[in-house]
């Protein structure tokens, strides 16, 4: 079942991304990179577990930092870039 989701999502990805024009390829990369920071969810759950080993918590803690950098930095820098694209007035 979960594999079905994976395959379907890849097809959806191909469908929408082919429509992105070359002008926006850099923002597309930084924006999609922010989305791949979704691992933050897994990292938070593992970092917040009440009874876990110290090693597991430490690793998840570092993962929270990395994934947050991706999410916050990725969306912000994409926003900054996209705001620069202007049409001729």
């Amino acid at each position: 079942m979960i594999l079905t989701v994976f395959v379907l999502a890849i097809f959806v990805g191909f469908e929408i991304i082919t429509k992105v024009p070359p002008t926006l390829h850099t923002p597309l990369m930084s924006g999609s990179n922010a989305i791949s920071g979704i691992t933050i969810i897994g990292a938070m759950v593992l970092a917040g577990q009440m009874e876990s080993s110290k090693l597991a918590t430490t690793m998840a803690f570092i993962a929270v930092i990395f994934a947050t950098i991706n999410v916050v930095g990725g969306f912000l820098v994409t926003d900054r870039m996209l705001n620069m694209f202007k049409k001729k007035d």
Partner: protein, 519 residues
């Protein structure tokens, strides 16, 4: 605490928001909103996760705060010319996060007394997430180091480059040795030594000042095979976490070697490929913790990276295998610089260029990586405005692989307030070339080399190029006659209607602007 159904529903909504957000990226007008919709989806997913169970919030909040501050500083401070480095670095963080989440989930599952042994899906996904994540992390670090020009170079480094370069190597090598020593009792000698060796190997290779060394391809193949074998062993024997860490180390060696020999014009391919890996690693992590929203978002990013990779490869008429394993360089029997250039090069001056503009109606500017290096985009904008005020139409021809990442030139020109409808894709620009009076090549070389059309034995044979030789007059702004990344001379420079303006990109623009104003 939210019930499982509500949490899953919210995750579904988040995934839909990601898809809608990406869909809106298909036009500059809607793209800003699209990015914000995706960010909203992320916020929803995070909030719902935090409300979904009883957590110890201490590490979550501290980790989030550190990451948010670092990410925000990086996003606000980074210069547009440094975007490739930035995206490279962020890809790496994504890969590292996936490795750590997979490792942490494995350790936690073994530690827990209540849950059963990890099932098959989780074991395989942990291995996939670990290998892809590790390759992504180390590969991205190499890409970052090559773009920031401190890895595999012979020249003298700035102090911060030295700190990053030697610091990273030292941390990886010393960290692996320390880890091996303290766990040698539990892991046994072979595994501990293996971990130490892979760390030392990674640290050592990263210090090399050449991007190729003997035995590189053997080591590439060996590390790929060994990491897969170790992956199978981890699936069969998940209780031995040291096997997992050895696998991460060997996959790290693979990540380093895969990207180490790649540079220059091949960089856009690598950046796009690593982008794809970071998505696939996130999707694999989704299988580890059985979470749909991770799988959906990860595969979206994976698909996006694969599409960009294939666009970049097509724009160079090369296969991905050729980029990853091939050697770029002049072929036997191709013309030497002397044969191509001697006696045929005409140098020009700013004054002469200003006179050319007098009778011109259509000017096409072809930017390349040299424009980014010279930070010339604002001066280009000034020249554009000046020419337009004299009723000359100025457009830009953007080759798909111009610069060091997909869309690099477009972002730089957008930063300089050049409207995006002036940026023409290669095919459209080529169809306009017949009516172009003056074509200005600013810091581009291989993408305007007519040899691609004429010489089937050339390393760039068959690569689609911008046909600037069809414009009435071509001006090449370049500091010298040095070859581009392909290492071959460019007959364009020797054509009758080509004029060379030997200068730095930015200075050249300023001098031309002054000359036009005076004429």
């Amino acid at each position: 605490m939210l019930s499982g159904n509500i949490v899953n529903l919210a995750y579904l909504v988040a995934a839909v928001l990601f898809i809608l957000g990406l869909k809106r990226l298909s036009h500059p007008r809607t793209a800003v909103g699209g990015n914000r919709i995706a960010a909203l989806g992320m916020l929803l997913a995070i909030v719902v996760t935090l409300l979904s169970g009883k957590f110890d919030f201490q590490y979550i909040i501290i980790g989030f705060a550190i990451g948010a501050i670092l990410g925000a500083i990086a996003a606000i401070k980074v210069k547009m010319t440094a975007m490739p480095e930035m995206v490279g670095l962020f890809n790496g963080f994504g890969g590292a996060a996936s490795v750590l989440v997979a490792g942490s989930a494995l350790v936690a599952a073994l530690h827990s007394v209540t849950t059963a042994d990890p099932d098959m899906q989780m074991k395989i996904a942990t291995v996939a997430s670990g290998i892809i994540g590790s390759v992504t992390f180390f590969g991205s670090y190499v890409a970052f180091g090559k773009l920031a020009e401190f890895l595999a170079v012979k020249w003298k480094l700035y102090w911060w480059q030295k700190i990053v370069k030697y610091g990273f190597s030292l941390i990886v090598a010393a960290g692996a040795v320390y880890f091996g020593v303290v766990t040698i009792d539990r892991a046994g000698v072979p595994l501990a030594v293996g971990i130490m060796l892979s760390g030392i190997l990674i640290g050592g290779i990263l210090l090399s000042n050449k991007d190729r060394f003997p035995g590189m391809n053997t080591l590439k193949l060996l590390s790929a095979v060994v990491s897969i074998v170790l992956g199978v062993l981890v699936v069969m024997n998940p209780a031995n976490t040291m096997l997992f860490w050895l696998m991460i180390g060997v996959a790290g060696v693979l990540g380093v070697i895969l990207t180490f020999s790649i540079g220059g014009a091949d960089m856009p391919v690598v950046i796009a490929l690593l982008n794809s890996y970071s998505g696939l690693a996130a999707a694999a992590t989704g299988f580890v913790i059985n979470n749909n929203v991770l799988i959906i978002s990860g595969s979206l990013v994976g698909a996006s990276g694969i599409i960009l990779t294939s666009i970049m490869c097509k724009a160079m008429n090369r296969s991905l295998t050729n980029v990853l394993f091939g050697v770029m360089g002049p072929s036997e029997g191709s013309a030497t610089e002397d044969e191509v250039y001697s006696g045929k090069i005409k140098a020009t001056s700013a004054e002469e260029i200003a006179m050319l503009f007098d009778g011109a109606q259509q000017v096409m500017i072809v930017p390349g990586y040299g424009m980014a290096v010279a930070q010339a985009q604002h001066a280009v904008r000034d020249l554009t405005n000046l020419l337009e005020s004299r009723d000359i139409n100025v457009e830009f021809a953007i080759h798909p692989v111009a610069g060091r990442m997909p869309g690099h030139m477009n972002v730089l020109l957008a930063e300089a307030d050049i409207p995006y409808d002036k940026l023409k894709e290669m095919d459209e620009a080529n169809s306009m070339m017949d009516q172009t009076d003056v074509a200005i090549i600013l810091g581009a070389n291989d993408v305007v080399n007519p040899v691609a059309r004429t010489d089937p034995s050339s390393p760039i044979a068959g690569m689609p190029i911008i046909d600037v030789d069809k414009a009435k007059t071509t001006i090449v702004i370049k500091r010298s006659l040095s070859p581009g990344f392909a290492g071959i001379p460019n007959p364009l420079f020797a054509l009758d209607n080509t004029l060379m303006f030997f200068n730095d990109g930015k200075k050249a623009m300023i001098e031309i602007i002054n000359a036009v104003k005076e004429s």
